[in-house]
C-alpha cells in the first residue's frame, strides 16, 4: 500500500514536471537551425554524399559513430562471453 502511494506521488510529480516542460518548450516545427543549415548546404560539396544523415554519421560526427561501434562490439562480446562461460561449466 505504501509502495503504491509512493509510486503514485512520484508519477504525479514527474508527470506535472514533464507536461509543464512539454507545453512551455519552444513551438513544434520551428527549430533553431544554423548548424543544420550549414550541413544541408555544404554536405554535398564537402563529403560528396547525397544522404545528409550519412554525411553527419560518418563524417561530421565520426567520433559518435566510433563510440557507438565500440558499444556494439562490447555488448556483442559480452553476450557471447556470458553464454560461453556457462557452456564450459556444463561440460566439466
Amino acid at each position: 500500500m505504501l509502495r503504491k502511494v509512493a509510486i503514485g506521488l512520484t508519477l504525479i510529480a514527474f508527470g506535472v514536471m514533464f507536461f509543464a516542460a512539454a507545453v512551455t518548450i519552444r513551438p513544434f516545427g520551428e527549430p533553431p537551425s544554423a548548424m543544420d543549415d550549414y550541413i544541408i548546404e555544404h554536405s554535398q560539396q564537402e563529403t560528396g554524399a547525397n544522404n545528409a544523415v550519412s554525411a553527419v554519421v560518418f563524417d561530421y560526427r565520426g567520433y559518435d559513430t566510433l563510440g557507438e561501434a565500440t558499444i556494439l562490439f562490447a555488448a556483442a562480446t559480452a553476450v557471447v562471453m556470458l553464454f560461453r562461460k556457462r557452456k564450459d561449466e556444463a561440460s566439466d
Partner: protein, 117 residues
C-alpha cells in the same frame, strides 16, 4: 489552447516517459522492467526526432528530393546512434536475465534477490 495543441508531439513524449516510469517502478518481473526501459528509449528517440522536425521539411536526402527545405539531419543521426546503442544494451540486459533465471529459477526481482549464488 492552440499552443497546447501544437505541442502534441512533446506531450506524447511526456506521456511515454510517464508510462515507462510507471512500468519500471511498479513491475517486479525483470523482463517487464526491461520493457519499461525500452519504452523509455523510444520516448527519448521520439523526443530527438521531434526536436529536429521543421514545418514542411522533407527527409535530408538529396536523391530525387522534391525541394531543399529539409528537416534537421543532426538529430536524426543522433537518433540512429541511440537506436543502435539501445539494441545492444537491451540484448545485454536480456542475456543477464536469462542467466539469472538459470541460476535462481526466477525472473522476479524480489525473489531472486534473496537467492544467493
Amino acid at each position: 489552447m492552440s499552443e497546447f495543441l501544437a505541442n502534441i508531439p512533446f506531450l506524447a513524449v511526456a506521456a511515454l516517459i510517464c508510462v515507462a516510469l510507471y512500468i519500471m517502478m511498479s513491475q517486479r518481473n525483470l523482463i517487464k522492467v526491461v520493457m519499461g526501459v525500452v519504452i523509455l528509449e523510444s520516448a527519448v528517440n521520439l523526443f530527438l526526432v521531434t526536436l529536429g522536425y521543421r514545418e514542411g521539411g522533407v527527409a535530408p536526402i538529396f536523391t530525387n528530393a522534391p525541394g531543399t527545405l529539409m528537416v534537421l539531419p543532426v538529430p536524426q543521426a543522433l537518433t540512429l546512434t541511440s537506436i543502435v546503442i539501445g539494441v545492444a544494451t537491451t540484448a545485454l540486459m536480456l542475456s543477464m536475465i536469462m542467466l539469472i533465471y538459470r541460476h535462481t529459477g526466477e525472473t522476479d526481482a524480489e525473489k531472486s534477490r534473496k537467492v544467493k549464488g
